[in-house]
């Protein structure tokens, strides 16, 4: 994808977002008491929608020039790996608990970004997650252990 195509795609996405925002504004149900009022809950969104559409339309019609976004030199796999691990974190935190999820996230993150030393992977990941758990325990913030808590009890 060239820079211009990327610019157009982003402008189009924001245009559609603004259009959706504007259309949905008509569905905001202002209470009957505000019928005579010059300003209701839908007034501000009705002003912002067209503003967003106009500005994104300018960018769509005349996409700004800029340097290529350097796709060739980017490591998409590393970035996607980190995003995937964040998704894992959101999925696992309530199931596996704070310490295990955090340690797995960190070790996975280090590994995904190229760290291969087993001691660094294990020690830093476990050290940081246990350190956080201890710090928050001292502050009376309870971070549970998920399924492990049930197994132990």
């Amino acid at each position: 994808m060239t820079r211009t195509q990327g610019e157009r795609l982003a402008a189009l996405a924001i245009l559609l977002f603004s259009l959706g925002y504007f259309v949905l504004a008509f569905g905001i149900k202002a209470p009957p008491s505000s019928d005579d009022s010059p300003f209701s809950a839908r007034s501000f969104p009705l002003m912002l929608g067209p503003l967003g559409m106009a500005l994104s339309l300018v960018l769509l019609v005349r996409p700004p020039e800029g340097a290529p976004i350097g796709a060739a030199g980017f490591s998409w796999g590393r970035a996607l790996g980190l995003v995937g691990l964040m998704v894992f974190y959101a999925l696992a935190i309530n199931r596996l608990g704070f310490v295990v999820t955090s340690a797995l996230f960190l070790a996975g993150g280090f590994w995904a970004l190229g760290e291969r030393r087993p001691m660094v992977l294990a020690l830093v990941a476990l050290g940081v997650s246990l350190g956080f758990w201890t710090m928050f325990s001292l502050l009376d913030v309870k971070l549970d252990w998920g399924v492990f808590e049930r197994i132990w009890s």
Partner: protein, 500 residues
Amino acid sequence: MIEGLLTGLYGLMTPMNIGLLMMGCILGTFIGMMPGLGPVTAVSLLIPVVLTMQPASAMVLLASIYYGAMFGGSTASVLINAPGESSSVPTTFDGYPMAKRGEAGRALALCAWGSFVGGTVATLLLMLAAPTLASWALTFQAPEYFALMVLGLTAVAAFTESGGVIKALLMTVVGLMLATVGTDVADGVERYTFGIRDIADGLSFVLLAMAAFALSEAILAALRNEKVSEEAKKAARGDVGSLKLTADDIREVAPTMARSSLLGFVVGVLPGAGATIAAFMSYAVERNIATGKRREEFGKGSRRGVTAPETANNAAAGGAYVPLLTLGIPGSGTTAVILGALVALGVQPGPRLYVDQSAMFWTVVVSMYLGNLILLVINLPLIPYIARTLAIPEQILSPLIAFFCLVGVFLVSFNTFDLWLMIGLCVVCIGLRLLDYPMAPLLLGFVLGKLLEENLRRALLVNDGSFAFMWERPVTALLLAISIACVLAPMAMKLAGRRC
């Protein structure tokens, strides 16, 4: 004023606040030193932590992190030619050549002294200017507030560092749109919640700040896959040379410090301008007024060239607190994050803040004096040790930053919905950042959105729905005229540039 300073001193002198001040200065230096991570990332990362604190303590920590990160940015500029943030870019022009000829310690000392003088002068001027500005702003009514916020938003968009004015304005509008999500306070109806209870109170400022700055920065660093340079490894060994200045150095840079402090403060006070413009302007001023041999030294390791931007960017950081604390208008991305934290802590920004929260105001002022001193007395000698962070490989750093963001957001609500929302927003922000859409206007729009809507509502209600207040009230008309000029000026300059 003396009474205010004593109040501030009394408020600051608790073990907790002093500890936070020292921690903020050192932690900010650490974070600011890492290439790509600047004050806005440093402040964003700390937001979840400060939400549990008293407003004064939170402000002390955030202000010290801000200063510390500015200081750290200059260190990376001098040692490895990689500024932590844009306001330290001009520091590389002469700081790095000095480091290459074995005078890294001297350049760092010039930065530290410049930062100290700039920060202290700015705090002094903040102390003098804030009460006057606040008492003037107390006469403002809803139309003036509305116009003031429009000015703040357009000025930040006009002075944006990347992307151009249209993109910045668009990001401001998107920020305003995001601010309308949740229950409308006046009418009590839900907007854009799609029945999701988790966003009935609106989107969380914390997760938006994290997604836009810290988390997307971590992912972008992973995407760019930058290795630790040989220079960074060398600098991390701590061999920077003497950190002392000679009498000749002081004589040489003293006038520069005075000029850059004043220039930086004035630029910092203007909404939207801020540290980067101040740093570049002061560098240009010093180069232009220099004559003969001094002028030839610029770009090759001039002492004035190192001192000017560092003095100006710290003075601008202090200046940015003037509109923030007296008008509730942040002038930059970093101060927008700080304002968001204040709002989240239940503090109503604006001129009443100086009256209602005067103890907090003075505590912050005194903490700024002390913070600048800490940076000079404690951080400067520690630079050889702090510089070791430059060797932290990116494969360790990025997951750690992502982890801090995830934990920070999760611990605020213990709700995984916030994590999902942050991840989604982060992906969108990465796409936008790759295309040079600036994030500061987005956050500023989000932070000011509710207040802007509320003041527009009041102004229209008082004026029976007529927009005539925009041109009939002199101050409102003036502020709106400046806003329009802010938007049109960069476009006109671009057009003129094309014709030349």
